[in-house]
């Protein structure tokens, strides 16, 4: 790993806590539904309301998803983990405590790897634990009062905690994106950041290289990648300024205001509550048999990192390509279909990472809804590979397919007259005409000027209306100019 970039001589240290809402249809300890956007308090049952006499019963689906995550990040799935009560009073916390895992979490260790540019980074995970979400307090709609919506109370969350391994805001975003990819890839979380299904908290501190960790401030609820980077950048600048001005950093929880682009403190350590954690006597230890883990493993789709390794091994792709293509299941399966159909994996990779991604990124749809089928793209690549059309002509065909102008690759090539001139007699005639008309360039080539050669190739291509095969043109010119 290269040395971390310093900002004004300071090293940035970031750890992440991410709350991924698990995609179960019912809540973690009750049978109420978890669907987003229902009328307030219509998805809260007696257990969620904490009515007297109610008790929590573990949702097996939530545990199964935690196991999936543990396997996906190479962590230890604990055979025995404990649910604890985190006690505090708040109106949207119906029981007066949150059930969470404290001392012994279900997922222990693991790591997340990703590319930052072309440098591979690995962030170690401390743990991932199961817990229930709280309800929502609604302060806007009620004059002088607050509304409580308990629909979200009891929604299953997996809180994923990293070591302080992240060294820049860009790395933080790359980590978050990679984690987002993993949880959506393995189907444990819908990843919808607007609806709060994937919420990140960043613990940010700065220090002079070689010094112990600085005091951290926690930026809460970063629910877009864009704000994440802005918030961390602001926070880092603010902390460095404080230190440079001789102020100490006080441990605090801060919120990012997207309107001002600033972070501001919500509470400091002095107000930190004593949560009086203790094992929840209503829930026996969560025991996960090895046979269950093996079953989950067997039922699990191929993981991104495993698939990427297979792409390197089976298709001879560079690791960067393999990692990029496994950003999403849709992209990976699209690549594989194209590669298998056109038998040119590297070309398939280049086209998907280049032309296809560029069109998608400019807002023309998503990987799930690419208007060009894998078979069509494979046909385009096939026609380039067999010399029928040039690379540039291939882009024109792709445009036509994309816009729906046509569906058959060969028909489009014919209709647009994009076929390369492979008749050597006709090409020789054009070459001779061009050589005769550009005596100055010919002389320069003979004097060793490579640029003049390019000019001649360009002239021939122009005269052939772009249909000449550039490789063939080069070969002919070299032959003629000996």
């Amino acid at each position: 790993m290269s040395a971390p970039a310093l900002i004004h001589g300071y090293e940035v240290v970031i750890g992440f806590e991410t709350h991924a809402q698990l995609s179960t249809s019912s809540k973690i300890f009750s049978r109420a539904a978890t669907a987003f956007g229902a009328e307030p308090n219509t998805q809260a049952c007696a257990v969620d309301l904490a009515l007297p006499g109610t008790l929590p019963v573990m949702n097996r689906g939530a545990v199964e998803r935690a196991i999936r995550f543990g396997l996906a990040v190479g962590a230890h799935v604990a055979e025995r983990s404990i649910f604890a009560r985190k006690n505090y009073f708040y109106p949207d916390l119906p029981k007066g405590y949150q059930i969470s895992q404290y001392e012994i979490p279900v997922v222990q260790g693991g790591e997340v790897s990703f590319f930052l540019g072309d440098e591979k980074k690995t962030v170690r995970l401390v743990r991932a634990h199961l817990e229930e979400d709280a309800g929502k307090s609604l302060h806007e709609d009620f004059v002088g009062m607050s509304g409580i919506d308990l629909n979200r109370a009891g929604t299953p969350l997996l809180e994923i905690v990293t070591e302080p391994d992240i060294r820049s805001s860009a790395e933080a975003v790359a980590y978050a994106k990679e984690l987002h990819k993993i949880v959506t890839w393995i189907g444990i979380c819908d990843g919808n950041m607007q609806e709060g299904s994937f919420r990140c908290d960043a613990n940010v501190s700065v220090r002079k290289p070689g010094q112990p960790l600085g005091t951290r401030r926690e930026i809460k609820n970063l629910n877009s990648f864009k704000f994440m980077q802005q918030a961390i950048d602001f926070e880092v600048r603010w902390q460095i300024e404080q230190l440079e001005d001789g102020h100490a950093i006080e441990q605090a929880t801060v919120l990012f205001d997207p309107d001002t682009g600033e972070t501001r403190a919500m509470r400091t350590k002095e107000d930190a509550a004593d949560y009086r954690y203790f094992p929840d006597p209503d829930l026996p230890p969560l025991v996960i048999g090895r046979d269950w883990v093996a079953q989950v493993q067997a039922d699990m789709a191929e993981l991104p990192r495993v698939m990427a390794a297979r792409f390197v091994r089976d298709y001879g792709l560079p690791e960067y390509d393999a990692t990029t293509l496994t950003q999403s299941k849709a992209m990976a399966s699209y690549f594989e279909a194209v590669a298998l159909a056109c038998k040119s994996p590297k070309l398939a990779s280049n086209w998907i990472m280049g032309e296809v991604s560029r069109r998608l990124n400019s807002g023309e749809g998503t990987m799930e809804t690419v208007p060009v089928s894998a078979a069509q793209l494979a046909a385009v690549i096939g026609r380039i590979a067999d010399g029928t059309i040039s690379n540039n002509a291939g882009k024109q065909v792709l445009d036509a397919l994309w816009s729906g102008e046509g569906t058959d690759v060969d028909a489009l090539i014919d209709a647009k007259g994009l076929k390369q001139m492979n008749d050597s007699g006709a090409l020789e005639a054009i070459v001779d005409t061009v050589l005769a008309a550009n005596a100055k360039n010919v002389a320069e080539v003979k004097a060793g000027n490579a640029k003049a050669m390019n000019a001649l190739v360009g002239q021939v291509m122009k005269a052939s209306q772009g249909k000449a095969n550039p490789a063939q043109v080069n070969a002919l010119l070299k032959q003629r100019l000996g």
Binding site: L51, P52, V57, D274, R276, F278
Partner: protein
Amino acid sequence: MSQKELHQQGVAELAATLRSRAVSAVEVAQHFLQRAQADAHGAFLPGGLDPEVTLAQARAADARLAAGTGGCLEGVPLAHKDVFVTRDFATTAGSKMLQGYRSPFDATVVARLAEQGAVTLGKLNCDEFAMGSANENSAYGPVKNPWDAARIPGGSSGGSAAAVAAGLTPAATGTDTGGSIRQPAAFCGITGIKPTYGRASRYGMIAYASSLDQAGPMARSAADCATLLSVMCGPDLDRDSTSLDVPAEDFSRDLARPLATAGKDGGPLTIGVPTQWLEKEAGPAHGVSPTIYDTFWQAMDTLAGLGARFKPIGLPNADHAIPVYYIIAPAEASSNLSRFDGVKFGHRAAQHGDLLDLYKKTRAEGFGDEVKRRIMIGTYVLSHGYYDAYYLQAQKIRRLIANDFQSAFAQCDVIAGPVAPTVAWKLGEKADDPVANYLADIFTLPASLAGLPGMSLPCGFSADARPLPVGLQLIGNYLDEARLLNVAHQFQQHTDFHRRTPTGDLT
């Protein structure tokens, strides 16, 4: 049989009378309702009776009896301790906090009894949130002991014990966290059993200390307790994660077995007697009153005459049960009672400022002194820096106590001891001395902490001008309720303590 008045009949007798159609369920319900309404012991809560609801249930029972589709308790009236939530009656847990609270569902135990045709008479007084040993902590006033109205009935299931003793109901439900079935049963001269932790569902039982709370029946005989316990227990895995996954049992199956063959090996029953509680040679010691000492050894003589053998056993860590219990139970209670915050249900302070003020005033007004005391103790022992010294340490000793019992049960089949060091004390006698109340729990707490089944049955009376009942405690190994009931029933076949009533007649 039918010469007896209805309130002199036990559960099994009443069920048989009803099945014979000699009397209707409505007539039975009316009889008990009249007695309950006329009662002056405060066993039922104010508002705990609703004759219309009860009679509607009785009419439905009569219809099933007529159709021959009734359950094993069809038409038998029962009353419930007010910590079981009920759809048809308000549930207060003896607290102002839940005055008028109506649950949208029935507790599993209540529902299971109703499924077998039991008719609910009403809701019984108890210590607030089941915290107490004298039933003096109810927000709705104390309950008086039917044997001597100047004395406490025991607690926390004091209303249940008093109602059964006074013939207001043939049986009642109770809950036992540290002795709350056994001790009031002893003080009121009735029979009660707390099953193995996890046998009876806790769903719908308002939680005091989750790792200890267990439901159980309180009735006049071991046979009736067996009938009721068989209905009340059974897995409830979809609602209570601490429910044991063991099938419901017929706890009456071994009642008739002679003690000469009631041992685990088919030989004579071996009764273990903890030497630190009672040593015959040592005389009354360790706070045990002479009355308790005398009646205990007389009961042991009776059991010996029935073929039982005795073995002195040690429970070296059981003496720590009081401090251990009074750390663990308040710790859990402090958290369990956090939901009573004035936001969603129950009492809310009428006058309040901001949110914190709402919490403070609501809880200050809604909870009584003992509940506040335990919330404070529990909050303290769970606090940062104290958890290891108190809560964690208490859990370790709890394990040692459970281990002691396992060593003991390697040498004996059941353990016998007193239920309480004394008979029922006078109302107000210990009301201002919480520690004196706590110390009276010394003999019931160990089985609670170990999660073992325990029961209390009448074994004698004091020599007071108004004789007061004395209870015998039997503790069994895990899931060994049938053996406890077997021993108790055999004892009751040869004694009449359980048949005596405060009014002097025999049932």
